[in-house]
């Protein structure tokens, strides 16, 4: 098991958002987490990545056999947890190159590998740029500054490719993307899929999932997973919306 979430409960500013979430992810699996606005999807992604604003009040998260909740944000990233942000952050004056070389070397240090110097890194990054069909000047630009929404999200996928994580969490990466940008993101994800690498794709819509074809689909409502199924659940949701599932759940 790569990730084991048990009875996870979390709050922000005294407001309970996650109310007992359970999830198991095996290596190589792709899970989609869907749900209406305010159901706790982004909170779940943030808690896994270690955002300090959220307080975990109950439950446990085991990642690769270790207690994830004990780790700092940077330690989680070094051990292979990657969060693609809903809103990637602009950092003026810091080049993508400096940012990613520092990050890649932090991860390499964790793996016991020697750091990349400038030349090693350039070569390594160039492969990924080609793999994902990114703009060649990407590395020279300041992190996300002056990027369109789509470019910012592609930059996050590029970072994901560079860091080669074990678990990729995509927090509504598809929101606001036009169809071309969406394809680039989806192709990026598909290019990075492997037997060891798992994905949790958090989304409101089925669009991205049509490209990615997740193995498991979960519906999150009111801080809990209320229904799980295979890819067919995506189309069920598309046709009937969340209302049926919610009513069914509330009836129980």
């Amino acid at each position: 098991m790569l990730l084991k979430v048990e009875n996870l409960q979390a709050q922000i500013e005294e407001k309970q958002i996650l109310k007992g979430l359970n999830l198991e992810v095996k290596p190589g699996e792709v899970h989609a987490i869907m749900g209406p606005n305010g159901s706790g999807k982004s909170t779940f992604a943030s808690v896994l990545a270690g955002r300090e604003d959220y307080e975990v009040t109950e439950g446990s998260v085991e990642f690769d056999g270790e207690d994830l909740l004990e780790m700092d944000t940077e330690e989680r990233a070094r051990k292979g947890v990657f969060l693609a942000f809903q809103y990637p952050v602009e950092i003026p004056g810091v080049s993508n190159k400096l940012f990613m070389q520092t990050a890649v070397n932090a991860v390499r240090e964790e793996k016991g590998l020697p750091p990349f110097d400038m030349f090693d890194f350039d070569e390594y990054a160039q492969e990924k740029i080609e793999l994902l069909n990114m703009r060649p000047d990407l590395l020279e630009r300041s992190v996300n500054v002056g990027f369109s929404g789509g470019e910012k999200k592609r930059n996050d996928i590029f970072q994901m490719a560079l860091l080669e994580p074990k678990l990729c969490i995509l927090d509504e990466t598809d929101s606001g993307l036009d169809i071309d940008a969406l394809r680039v993101v989806a192709n990026g994800v598909n290019a990075l899929r492997s037997e060891e690498r798992s994905f949790i794709v958090v989304t409101h819509y089925q669009r991205l999932l049509d490209y990615i074809k997740p193995d498991h689909v979960h519906v999150l409502y009111n801080g809990r997973i209320v229904k799980s199924g295979g890819f067919e659940l995506v189309h069920e949701l598309e046709e009937n919306g969340y209302d049926d599932i919610i009513q069914q759940y509330q009836g129980e």
């Binding site: 969060l83 990637p88 004056g93 940012f99 990613m100 990050a103 932090a106």
Partner: protein, 454 residues
Amino acid sequence: MTTLSSSTRESKPLVKKFSPVVKAAMEHYAQLSDDLNKASDHENVVSLRQKAKQLFLQEGFPTRRDEDWGYTKLTNFVQTHYRLEGLSQITLADIQKFLPSYPATRIVMVDGWFSESLSDDLSVLPKGVSVESIDDILEIPASMDKLIGPQTQIDKEPFGVLNTMLLSDGYFLQVSRNTTVELPIFVLNVQTQNQHVSNLRNRIIIEQNAEATVVESYVSLTPEQNEEFSGLTNVVSEIEVGQDARFNQVVVQAQAERSYYFANQFVYQASRSVFNTLYSGTGSLTSRHQNHLQMDGEHIESIQNSACYASGEQIMDSRTYTEHNEVNGVSQQLHKYVLDDSAIGVFNGMIKVARAAQKTDGQMDNKNLLLSNSAQMDTKPQLEIYADDVKCSHGSATGQINKDQVFYLQARGIPKAQAIRMITEAFLLEPVEDIRNPEIGKWVSAILSQKLNG
């Protein structure tokens, strides 16, 4: 306000009152002036100092009642009486660590005095470039008018008056018409004696269509473990940038942490000239760097930037006064401060656009990052516009480090402390990007980064 009261004020000049501590300090520096004059045979130098002394004894040091000095306290400064003595003997090995990584013509001033032995041979400079020490110029009575600019405003500044009163040494640089000085001129100003004043008077003349780059570095050579070392640097520079001339300047102030630094730069630009200056401030307990810029021609361009980092109890003041006097001028300013601990940053900028200066484009931006809850920034960007067709803006923003940025870097495996350093460094180094010479830019960046990363 009635006419009567204002005329009463004019007819009765205000006699300034000083506390005994300030008065004692003023008398001390007046005595230093007298001592200099006793050792001098040149009547016109003597009388120049004497006139300044009279003015100084009236106007004195600024007090907290002076609006311009309200945020830059001198309470500690006036308690120490800084001596003025001769050149101390240091070697090239002593100053090696202060020398730049790029090729340059070197001028070294030790405790305010020109050091011939540590400077490059200035008699073999390329054609069209001449550098002399002010001390040498003072020896020749006929060359006095070389020293003082035609429209000098030095007397308006209290530390300017003090500077003339103690007139002793500095450098004089002249670049002739159409001459491009390829090598940067690097001026190292090193404090070596505790409680000593370095009184520097510089004059730079860049003639028509000439070009030069000057880097001035202010440092302290302190005996090891002497954390109490305190030197005073008081510098006045008059700079003329002729028609179509280009002058690039970088001032790096990295003196010992209990030293003082006061600088007044009076800059006069003629038509189509370009002036580009950066002030990098990291040193001294209290420091104040002032540009007084007059853009006296058409199509003039100027860039005035600052990158300041202060921590502990430092007070770091950088200010600009920019006058657009004719049409089509472009002035650009970016002043950035990073303040930690209980440091105080002070910025004051004024862009004044004369009625004749139509189509002026004047931009002034001040941005500050506070790293602690007890750091403080006092800022006052101002515009005064008398022309009706101009594009001017001024702004100031002060904030703390952006938590989302820190989290973003952490989420990629970068430790929190390192993430904060990266973001802070990128913030502080932005003004450095306007330096034209990439080697000098790297050198300044390295000095700032090193200071920031303690």
